[in-house]
C-alpha cells in the first residue's frame, strides 16, 4: 500500500506505538495515509481501536515475519488532542 509518511515503531511496546501515532498523524494532511511499522503484536487490535476512538480510518494491516505494517488514513480532527493549557 502507498503511504504518505512512515512511522517506525519497531521494538516499542504498548502504549508507545499509538502515542507516537498520535503525534505523527498531526503532521499529515487530511486524506493522507500513515504507515506504522511495529513488531508488538498488540498493534493488531490496538490500532483499529485507536482509529475507532479518534475517528481516523483504519485501512488495513500486513504482517510478514512478525513485522506489522498498519495503514491509517487521516480524517479531520474530531477529537483534537489538546495540550495542558488548551481546552
Amino acid at each position: 500500500m502507498e503511504a504518505d509518511a512512515v512511522l517506525d515503531c519497531m521494538g516499542l511496546y504498548c502504549p508507545m506505538p499509538i502515542i507516537e501515532t498520535t503525534d505523527k498523524i498531526k503532521e499529515l494532511e487530511v486524506g493522507q495515509v500513515l504507515e506504522v511499522i511495529a513488531d508488538d503484536k498488540g498493534i493488531v487490535t490496538d490500532m483499529p481501536a485507536w482509529c475507532e476512538s479518534t475517528g481516523h480510518e483504519f485501512l488495513g494491516i500486513e504482517e510478514k515475519h512478525g513485522e506489522y505494517r498498519v495503514y491509517v488514513k487521516k480524517r479531520a480532527d474530531q477529537y483534537p488532542i489538546t495540550n495542558n493549557q488548551g481546552e
Binding site: L12, P15, G86
Partner: protein, 160 residues
C-alpha cells in the same frame, strides 16, 4: 462528534508497577482523544511527590512517616520482588533493555497529552504534606466531591 469521553483513574497505590499501569492506561486513553483525570490519594501521593529536597511536616509522627515514606517517582518500590531495591533496579534494567518508557517518561507524556493530575487534600492533611511537597505538574488539590464530579461523567473509572 459529541463531547469527549471522560476517563478517571484513582491512583491509591504508591508502587512502581501500579503507577506504571496507571500511566500506561492514562497515556493510551489521552492518545485516543479521551479526557483523562488522575486523582492521587493516600500512598498514591508518593507518585507525584518531588524527587529532590526534604519533605517539610510538623510533629514527630508525621516527620517519622515522611522519613519512612519519602516517595517520589524515582523511589517507588515494586509491589512484588522489591528485595530492598535490588528487584526494582533489575526491573528498571529490563525495561530499559526493551526500550520501555520509564515512569518519568510516561508522566511527561501524560502531561503533554493533557492528562490532569489532582492531589487529594485529605491525605495531604493526614500526612502533613503541603503543596510544596509535590511536582509542579499537579493541576489542582481537591477532595472526593471533585473526583466524583468528574467520575459521574466518566465512561471509564478505575481504582489502582
Amino acid at each position: 462528534m459529541a463531547e469527549k469521553e471522560k476517563v478517571t483513574i484513582v491512583v491509591f497505590s504508591g508502587e512502581l508497577d501500579k503507577a506504571l499501569a496507571s500511566f500506561n492506561i492514562a497515556t493510551a486513553a489521552a492518545s485516543m482523544g479521551m479526557d483523562v483525570t488522575m486523582f492521587f490519594t493516600f500512598w498514591g501521593l508518593n507518585v507525584i511527590k518531588k524527587n529532590r529536597g526534604p519533605l517539610k511536616s510538623q510533629g514527630l509522627m508525621r516527620k517519622m512517616l515522611n522519613w519512612m515514606n519519602r516517595g517520589g517517582s524515582q523511589r517507588l518500590p515494586l509491589s512484588k520482588f522489591h528485595m530492598f531495591g535490588l528487584g526494582t533496579w533489575m526491573m528498571k534494567q529490563l525495561m530499559g533493555e526493551e526500550r520501555m518508557p520509564s515512569l518519568e517518561d510516561l508522566m511527561a507524556t501524560a502531561k503533554r497529552l493533557g492528562v490532569k493530575f489532582i492531589a487529594c487534600t485529605t491525605s495531604m492533611g493526614t500526612m502533613g504534606l503541603g503543596e510544596d511537597a509535590f511536582i509542579p505538574e499537579v493541576d489542582s488539590f481537591a477532595g472526593a466531591a471533585t473526583f466524583l464530579g468528574e467520575a459521574r461523567k466518566g465512561t471509564v473509572n478505575l481504582f489502582i
